[in-house]
């Protein structure tokens, strides 16, 4: 897919928050089994706005504010899903998975397998990720790799509102558990700045995006930048700057960590011969390593240079702005890595 977000004039744009809420509402209208649970998702409409309007339309029976009891309500979602409901539950910050992970990775992720496929677990766990606004080390993590590492749950992470709506609808209709990881800096809340490019045209009618399909959102011949969530926007900005210097970067938005669209990534690197992977999650044992391994295992001979990863160093996320910004991926780091990889004299490289 060349462009997942076609924008024409006079078309409505939505934030990711509104796109998520719209997808949930549309699914709730057609399927009475869909319901929502989480902290502050009712009257408040979610700390990140992604359940706004649901309480008013569907009432407190189907839109349930929970106590601060993640183990209980995520475990309850597993049980309800196994019993035929389709819960959408929110873990307010992904960092809080520590208090409830058993319900997630030992129950939600394994019960289909343990039951030999006789149980279904059609639930969505939506959770916010990411930092960059100095919220400290327990409220800024991504931990994509942690979730994607453990088998039995699909994991998606949209970079824009169009994908967010389609992936949410697909996640709710899926009979498997799906973890929907949305990045706070893309969400469009009033209290935090938002990457403008995440707010895009979103059709009113319902649609789905296949979970497990990556999107090539910019094509280029010289190198491939693979990323997800906010990293996609860093990659696009870097690609623009590189283009001004004669380097054409292809940008792949994986959109889904599990399943991972390895074919799209490998095809792109086969074309460009160079790979940079950008991820806000921790550097080691994570998404960046997995993507590089995928390419290397597939066909080492296509690589013209060693792949590079730009990720969060292996340290807890510091509060101080200068320290956090030092650690985070950004367009500058990508540009520098690309220039180093290609050599500064691009004209020669492309001659």
């Amino acid at each position: 897919m060349a462009d997942s977000t076609p924008i024409r004039k006079n078309e409505r744009k939505l934030t990711i928050a509104r796109a998520m809420a719209e997808a949930v509402a549309q699914e709730m209208r057609i399927d009475p089994k869909v319901f929502v649970m989480g902290e502050d998702i009712g009257e408040l409409g979610g700390v990140y706005g992604n359940t706004r309007g649901l309480l008013a339309e569907f009432g407190a029976e189907r839109v349930r504010d929970t106590p601060i009891s993640e183990t209980a309500f995520i475990g309850a979602a597993v049980g309800a899903a196994q019993d035929g409901m389709r819960p959408v539950v929110e873990l307010m910050f992904v960092d809080f998975f520590g208090v409830c992970f058993d319900a997630i990775y030992n129950l939600m992720a394994k019960n289909i397998y343990f039951s030999g496929g006789t149980f279904k677990v059609p639930m969505v766990l939506m959770t916010s990720t990411g930092g960059g606004y100095s919220d400290g080390g327990q409220h800024s993590q991504c931990v994509y790799g942690t979730f994607a590492h453990l088998p039995g749950m699909k994991v998606v992470a949209p970079s824009n509102a169009y994908d967010a709506k389609g992936l949410m609808a697909a996640a709710i209709r899926d009979d498997n558990p799906v973890v929907f990881m949305y990045h706070k800096a893309l969400q469009g809340m009033g209290w935090l700045g938002t990457e403008p490019a995440a707010t895009v045209h979103v059709p009113e009618e319902s649609y789905t995006i296949e979970i497990g399909s990556a999107a090539v959102i910019r094509s280029g011949r010289d190198l491939t930048i693979v990323s997800l969530g906010i990293g996609v926007h860093h990659a696009l900005k870097a690609a623009q700057r590189l283009s001004e210097r004669g380097i054409e970067a292809e940008v792949v938005d994986i959109r889904s960590l599990v399943p991972l669209d390895r074919a799209t990534i490998c095809a792109s690197v086969a074309k460009t011969g160079r790979l940079i992977v950008v991820d806000e999650d921790y550097h080691s044992y994570g998404v960046t390593g997995e993507i590089i391994a995928t390419v290397v295992e597939h066909d080492l001979s296509v690589l013209k240079a060693p792949p590079v990863r730009i990720a969060f160093p292996d340290v807890p996320i510091p509060f101080a702005r200068v320290m956090e910004q030092f650690c985070l991926p950004n367009p500058d780091k990508i540009v520098t890595a690309a220039e180093t990889m290609l050599g500064r004299d691009v004209a020669v490289t492309n001659a």
């Binding site: 601060i68 327990q138 700045g193 340290v315």
Partner: protein, 328 residues
Amino acid sequence: MIPSREQKLWMYEKMVISRRFEEAIAAIYFEGKKPVFNMANGPIPGEMHLSDGQEPCAVGVCAHLQPYDIVTATHRPHHQAIAKGVDLKRMAAEIFGKATGLSGGRGGHMHLFDSAVNFACSGIIAQGMGPAVGAALSRKMQGKPGVAIAYIGEGAANQGAFHESLNLAAVWKLPVVFIIEDNAWGISVAKAASTAVPENHVRAAAYGMPGHLVRDNDPYAIFAIAGEAIAAARNCGGPSLIEIETMRLAGHFMGDAEGYRPKGEKDGLSARDPIPRLRARLLADGDADEAALDQIETTAQSEVDDAIAYARNSPDPDPADALTSVFV
């Protein structure tokens, strides 16, 4: 247990310092965040949870503590830190993310750590409780003096760690006191909508420990009950649970529009602001005259001003220092 005149004035002083500190933080927090509010901007970025109204819970308990006693605090820790004796300058600098902060800027407002007075925080609900139990265990095993205080909000009483920690502390008879600051709200969710019992102190019975309720944010009553619970803990009497009815005068975090709060609720609370109430009581009881209390307030203000100036004038950390201190 009745506070002495000195203890009453100490409590008043710490409450005033705490409030002045929060006011200063609130004012500075909005620098760089107007006209468009963006939490990422300004000299103090990130989430900010203020403790206005909850000061009695901090002073009434900490009046009984020594530096060697342990306090674990929450995402709303400033009043507790001040009452425990955390260095105000280095605490302010940490909240600004400066090199001179308690943790050199690595922690921030939800992660204040001061080893000199055994103070630590966690921003994850109820997760200070296990460490408080463990610190109490450590003192018992080492034969060293000290009680551990775990502060939580009422919302935390519905978290698994609450129930596990109470049981563990009770079954091992550890010197720990659990303090619930009940401000009636967990972000936008009212206590009554999330909690199966009207009052959390009754939950102590499930774990075989005494449970107490202090109504109306009363610092002297908190002092009395906490004093007994802490003395019991020191004398091998085991843990207890104290629930304090307090009030959240601020939003859950700064920038919270609080549309979920019933109209007029906050006006009613402001009328019962514990600081003017304590001032009136000190005067009425003849514990201090206007001049003495004015003096306390002036001193408190200048202590806060000094701390804020120290924080503002301190240098940013070296960005690359982010990579240090992962291991000792």
